[in-house]
Every structure is written in structure tokens, then in C-alpha cells.
């Protein structure tokens, strides 16, 4: 009888922690939010130094690109490149943002690694848990992103709205 009790308790623990883990894994948002703005390019692009975390270089690079795009979209990055969303839009569009990052072939259209896969050894670190932290110079096409977010109704066209 006591064995059954332990089994139920064990199953409960697994369920609780398992749900927690899957929730983190299921999130489409970047793990890292460490982003700093380097410069604006041609009033069209923002260039960021974005840090990503992943189990290897490729995952970390993907996470860094997501982080740069997230900063351009939602904000939160250090420096002068401001995010496209207002505080109100951010709180209203949590699910939309989550969905946006679900499709890699979609979000990849707005961001690219300007170092074309080249890694700077000073910007690659193995963390104590074994994961890789990678710094990537990411260029976000903010103009295109803004147009598409307006079309999707996630943000308002502030110029027209203000007129």
C-alpha cells in the first residue's frame, strides 16, 4: 500500500516539474534578453549586439537573433534603438508576440547575422551548466517589421494616428 502512495507522490512530482519544464521549452520567446543597440543603419535597420543562449553554437545564435528581434519589437535592449511597441501594445499583444516567434521561417525574414556565421572568441562563452552563450551582431529590418506589425494590427501607425 505504501508503495502505491510513493508511486502516486512520485508521479505527482514528475507531473508538476514536467509541466514546468515543458512550459519553458514550449515558449517561443528568446531565452536571453541581453541586447544592446550598436547603431541605426540608413533609418531602416537597427544593429544590435545580442547575446543568445543554447545547447550549442547554432541554438545560441538562433536565440541571439530572436533576442535582437524581440528588442526591436518589444523593447528592453540597452542603447538608443527603441522598441516598436508601446507599453499598452505590449500588454495587449503577449500572445501575438509568442505566436510570431513560433514560426522560424517567418521571423527570420526580419533579422540576419551581420557576421555571416563568423564567431568572435571573445563573444562565445561556455556557461557552468554546459550551455553556450554567444554574442551576435544582428541587423533587424525595423522598417519592414514595423509595416508588417501595423498590417497585422499589433501596433498602430503612429504617424497616421497622430495626424
Amino acid at each position: 500500500m505504501s508503495k502505491i502512495k510513493y508511486f502516486i507522490l512520485f508521479a505527482f512530482i514528475i507531473n508538476v516539474f514536467g509541466c514546468g519544464a515543458s512550459k519553458r521549452l514550449d515558449s517561443n520567446l528568446p531565452i536571453s534578453k541581453e541586447v544592446s543597440c550598436i547603431e541605426g543603419i540608413s533609418s531602416k535597420d537597427y544593429k544590435y549586439l545580442a547575446w543568445g543562449i543554447g545547447s550549442d553554437n547554432d541554438e545560441a545564435e538562433t536565440d541571439a537573433l530572436k533576442a535582437a528581434l524581440y528588442a526591436a519589437m518589444v523593447g528592453g535592449g540597452a542603447g538608443e534603438c527603441t522598441g516598436l511597441m508601446s507599453a499598452e501594445e505590449r500588454s495587449k499583444s503577449v500572445e501575438e508576440v509568442e505566436k510570431f516567434f513560433a514560426f522560424e521561417n517567418q521571423w527570420r525574414n526580419y533579422v540576419r547575422n551581420s557576421t555571416t556565421g563568423r564567431i568572435d572568441s571573445d563573444k562565445r562563452r561556455k556557461l557552468s551548466d554546459g550551455s553556450v552563450k554567444l554574442g551576435v551582431e544582428a541587423v533587424v529590418d525595423v522598417l519592414k517589421l514595423k509595416e508588417d506589425l501595423i498590417k497585422a494590427g499589433i501596433i498602430k501607425d503612429k504617424l497616421k494616428w497622430g495626424d
Partner: protein
């Protein structure tokens, strides 16, 4: 024997693990490869002041390393510095003295040399050139479209470090060596940060370069080294400019040549200094590691590099952890193609990943020590009737234990063939004898050889083949009833042979090898006998009867040989 082999294998494994552990504790300062700006200020002590011109000329003729951008300081500045140093209290006998650093820093600032050096090192056009060379990103297109202002971080990266080398020649010592002191100083960030003025490039107004204000900079010691060098010794290497200058240098007096070698030593010492080593990053791992270094950074075939990974511990402290050792396989020409990568082959593997750092590990010469066995044949009848003893040995002597010391150089940079070594060795062999009488006649064999060796690496192991030629000297000495006896081969006994080895890299510098080879040695044709101080000569033709009765035709100094060899790579001294 059956027990020795497992013990040996286990010992090598344990020792390798220990060495790996020691290496893994190595730490590496952060930083990527950047050309360093160097200004050389040659100085003499008052007693050697008449050789100042030779030092200045040595800079002009010196082979220039790709690791540096050379800044030429105006001669009037150098002369004025020389004059002030002569009058100063600088202590040449105790160069490490902190007073010396204070004096040097003070004089460098007072004479305005530091201002001049900073002006040259941070010259706008030099930095733009470096900036364009360093671009490996899409900034190239951005650059042509709009203004870019460099951050302090960018500026520091582009400048890469401003160094001042001060070789001081103090004259010749009793051993006919040139003596002196070398000071390497570095201009470092002031405590309150750099002060800058901004300037638009005259050639490209889109670029704004920050100019360093020299008023508050600090001079830091990189190294101070006492020098004792033999004039001309640095010209025997593979340095083409050096070879061209050998003839010129022969016409110099020893003191003049000494002034030159002290000046030139600045580069060989730089190679050993952490600040100036080439550094790069593994960018690709297809067909072996590929690194973003090449001709531009002065990469050389077979040059060794240690591999490190940048890690962060639980306390957030960053540490570079040693991961393995690689050598240059093919040098990429990245002078114009900035993305070209050089390929490497792995010596000590360590699950490399893209983004790992590589740092040059200079190696100059391999020194080997070998203990081994050689087969010989020394007839027991040899010299038998000389001392009315009958045979001097109970049986023919067939086994020899030998110790060998050798030195070899990698010729890769000269002949463009990987892992081809030229070397010389000397060995001393003691044949294992059983005497028949109370007298002991100790035989010995000395071999002197030169060899050519080619290694084929398969990660941590290499298989090597060597061909060698040389000469052997066989001798016997002892005391008999007629007094002291010395018997030696007369003339040179030539030998040729081959050797195959299986070598294991315990560390980047230490290898352990098992050798097996065969050597053919021409039979001796004459012997010199010294008995109680009187010399006699016996040869095959004149003393044929004795020669045959002593069975001298059966004497074999060559044969099979086996051995265990440790090789250690030493840096340039």
C-alpha cells in the same frame, strides 16, 4: 618483460592525464589577434656609445614581423633620448630595479617621445587601414553609406596596443658575448580613462577617428630582460634577410655586431611574450579546424597553436580552459580576402567547437633523449693473444645498451613539407660483456649521426621514418699484466641506416616514442693500440694473419636497434 609493458603503458597514461590536468589549469588573457604598434628606441650605455649608429642601422635591416606595425621615430628624438639616458642614473646592472622604470617613463614623457609615438600609432590613416582590414561584417556596405563614429572599445581594438621597445647595449663581456638589457613598455589606459579629441579623416570624411590625448597616459612594464648574446648566432636561422646580411656582418667588429644582435633580439623575445602571440578563433571544423588567421598575421607552416575555450564559472568569472593542440596545415592568403581561413591539423584532440580561441605556442627545436638496445657482434677472440689470456670474453658480445641525445629542427618553413626534421645525434653504447679473466676490458661504441626525419601525424600519434648517416668509433680499454691498454678504431668508420618510430604526444611539447631501426656500419680496417703508453697500429692488409686469428672480419658495429625516446620541444632561447 611481460610485466614491464603493462606497467609502462599504465605509467604513460597516468603521466598523460597528469600533464593534461596541468595544461588545463593554464589560463589565457582575453583578446583577439591585432597587430601591435611598436616603436623601437635603441640605446647604448655610456661605455658603448660609439656603437649607437650600428643599433639604429640594425632596425632598418631587421626582418619585420607581421605581428607589428613599425613606427619609426625621428632620429633627433632618438639621439636626444640617448643623450639623456647617458646622463641619467639608470642602473644597467640591475635592470629590474623599479627606479629604472621611473627614469625611463619620465624621460620618455619629458623628451616628447611618447607624444610622437602616440601620434604615429593612432595616425588616422593607419587606423582607417586597420579598420577596413578588420571588417568582416556587413559594415563594409554601411560604411560607404553613412557616417560611422568609432567607440572607445573599437578604438582600443584597432590600436591593438602601443608598445615601446628599448634595447640597451652595454658592450662585450669576457665570453665575447654582447650584453645589454631589453625593456618592453606598454602604454595603458589611465585610471580616469582615455582623453580623446575627434578628427575627421582627410581621405574619408565619413569616418571619425578619436585621437588620444597623451597628457595622462601610463607606461607599464611588459618585460625586462638581461641579454647575453653571441654575435652572428641569430643569422644562422631561416631568416632570409638574415642570411643576406651574414656577409655584411662578417665585416663588422665584434662590438659592432654585438650592437646589432642586441637590437634584433627584440623580435625573438617578442615571440615568447604573451602580449605579442598570434591569436585567432576556430571558425569552421570541416576537414579539421579552420582559423581566421593567415598570411596577414604572419602564420607559418607547422606552427603550433594551443586551443582554449572561454568559460564562465558559477561566480561569473571567465576563464580560458586548455582544450588541445593544433598545427598549421595550409596558410591562407588573407591579405586581400579578409574571410580566408587557414587550415590546421590536430595533434592533441579535444572535441573542438567553433568559437574556440587559438594562441600561438612557439617551438624552436626538439631535444630527444633515448635509451635503447643495439645488436652488435664483438668476437670473443678479439686481441686474444696480446696478453696471454686466451679469449678476452667468455663468448661473442652481441648486446649493447646505449643512450642517445639528439637535437632536430623542423624544416617545414624552409622546404614547405610538413613535419620534416633535420637533426644530429650522438650516442654512447656499452656492450654487455663477460670477461674470462680477472682483467676487465670495457668496450664502448660512440656513434655520431645526422638524420632526416619525416613524421606522419594521426591525431595524438605519429609514425615517423628517418634516414641517417654518420660514423662509429669502437674502443676497448682496461688494465692488464702489461699495463694500461687502449684499443680504438683507426680512422672514421662510416654508417648508414633507417629507423621507424611510433610516437605519442603526451603534451604539445613532450612526446614519447618507440623506435626500431637497422644500421649498417662499414667494418673497421685498422686499429690503434696503446699499450703501456706505446702506440701500435694494426690493419687488415699489413697484419692479415693477426687480423684473421682475432676474427676481426666478424666484428659488426651495426645491426638492429630498439629504444624508448622522450622528445621535448624547446622555445627559442
Amino acid at each position: 618483460m611481460k610485466r614491464i609493458i603493462p606497467v609502462l603503458v599504465v605509467s604513460v597514461i597516468m603521466f598523460t592525464i597528469f600533464v593534461e590536468f596541468v595544461y588545463s589549469q593554464n589560463q589565457l588573457g582575453s583578446g583577439t589577434f591585432n597587430k601591435k604598434s611598436i616603436s623601437i628606441l635603441p640605446i647604448t650605455s655610456p661605455s658603448a656609445s660609439s656603437y649607437h649608429n650600428q643599433m639604429k642601422q640594425a632596425i632598418v635591416y631587421m626582418d619585420k614581423s607581421a605581428q607589428f606595425d613599425y613606427n619609426y621615430i625621428r632620429e633627433d628624438y632618438i639621439n636626444s633620448f640617448q643623450s639623456l639616458i647617458s646622463k641619467s642614473n639608470i642602473k644597467f646592472s640591475s635592470p629590474e630595479s623599479s627606479d629604472n622604470m621611473v627614469i625611463l617613463s619620465k624621460l620618455l614623457k619629458e623628451t616628447g617621445i611618447i607624444k610622437e609615438i602616440i601620434e604615429i600609432a593612432t595616425n588616422t590613416d593607419t587606423l582607417i587601414k586597420r579598420y577596413r582590414n578588420s571588417l568582416k561584417t556587413e559594415q563594409v556596405t554601411a560604411l560607404s553609406k553613412q557616417e560611422i563614429s568609432l567607440s572607445v572599445e573599437d578604438w582600443e581594438k584597432l590600436v591593438g596596443g602601443i608598445y615601446v621597445g628599448i634595447p640597451i647595449y652595454t658592450g662585450m663581456n669576457d665570453k665575447k658575448e654582447a650584453t645589454g638589457v631589453l625593456f618592453w613598455l606598454k602604454i595603458v589606459k589611465p585610471y580616469d580613462g582615455y582623453k580623446f579629441t575627434e578628427e575627421k579623416s582627410s581621405k574619408d570624411s565619413n569616418i571619425i577617428i578619436k585621437k588620444l590625448d597623451p597628457s595622462n597616459i601610463i607606461l607599464q612594464k611588459v618585460l625586462v630582460k638581461k641579454l647575453e648574446l653571441t654575435p652572428g648566432s641569430d643569422l644562422s636561422g631561416f631568416d632570409t634577410r638574415g642570411r643576406m646580411n651574414i656577409e655584411l656582418e662578417k665585416s663588422l667588429t665584434p662590438q659592432e655586431a654585438g650592437a646589432r644582435i642586441i637590437t634584433r633580439s627584440i623580435l625573438s623575445i617578442a615571440e615568447q611574450t604573451e602580449d605579442f602571440k598570434q591569436r585567432g578563433t576556430i571558425q569552421d571544423l570541416e576537414d579539421g579546424p579552420r582559423v581566421d588567421l593567415g598570411k596577414k598575421e604572419g602564420l607559418k607552416l607547422d606552427q603550433g597553436f594551443k586551443v582554449f575555450e572561454n568559460t564562465v564559472d558559477n561566480n561569473g568569472k571567465t576563464k580560458f580552459v586548455y582544450k588541445g593542440f593544433i598545427r598549421v596545415d595550409n596558410v591562407a592568403d588573407n591579405t586581400n580576402k579578409i574571410d580566408a581561413k587557414s587550415s590546421f591539423y590536430t595533434i592533441i584532440p579535444g572535441s573542438f567547437e567553433r568559437g574556440y580561441s587559438v594562441v600561438a605556442h612557439p617551438q624552436f627545436m626538439d631535444i630527444s633523449l633515448k635509451a635503447g638496445y643495439k645488436s652488435v657482434n664483438i668476437p670473443k677472440e678479439m686481441f686474444s693473444d696480446l696478453f696471454t689470456l686466451g679469449n678476452i670474453y667468455k663468448e661473442d658480445v652481441t648486446n649493447t645498451l646505449a643512450a642517445e641525445l639528439s637535437a632536430s629542427f623542423n624544416l617545414a618553413q624552409l622546404v614547405h613539407i610538413h613535419q620534416l626534421f633535420f637533426g644530429a645525434s650522438g650516442s654512447y653504447g656499452l656492450p654487455l660483456t663477460k670477461s674470462t679473466s680477472s682483467y676487465t676490458f670495457t668496450p664502448s661504441i660512440i656513434d655520431v649521426e645526422v638524420f632526416l626525419l619525416k613524421k606522419f601525424w594521426f591525431q595524438r600519434f605519429n609514425f615517423s621514418l628517418a634516414a641517417f648517416g654518420g660514423t662509429s668509433i669502437f674502443s676497448i680499454s682496461g688494465n692488464s699484466d702489461v699495463g694500461e691498454v687502449k684499443i680504438k678504431t683507426d680512422g672514421l668508420t662510416y654508417s648508414v641506416g633507417g629507423r621507424a618510430s611510433l610516437e605519442f604526444a603526451i603534451s604539445p611539447d613532450l612526446n614519447l616514442a618507440l623506435d626500431a631501426g637497422y644500421k649498417y656500419v662499414l667494418s673497421p680496417t685498422a686499429f690503434k693500440l696503446t699499450i703501456a703508453g706505446t702506440d701500435y697500429t694494426f690493419d687488415k692488409v699489413t697484419n692479415s694473419t693477426t687480423w684473421n686469428s682475432w676474427k676481426m672480419n666478424d666484428l659488426r658495429l651495426g645491426g638492429l636497434n630498439f629504444g624508448l625516446r622522450f622528445t621535448y620541444s624547446i622555445p627559442k632561447l
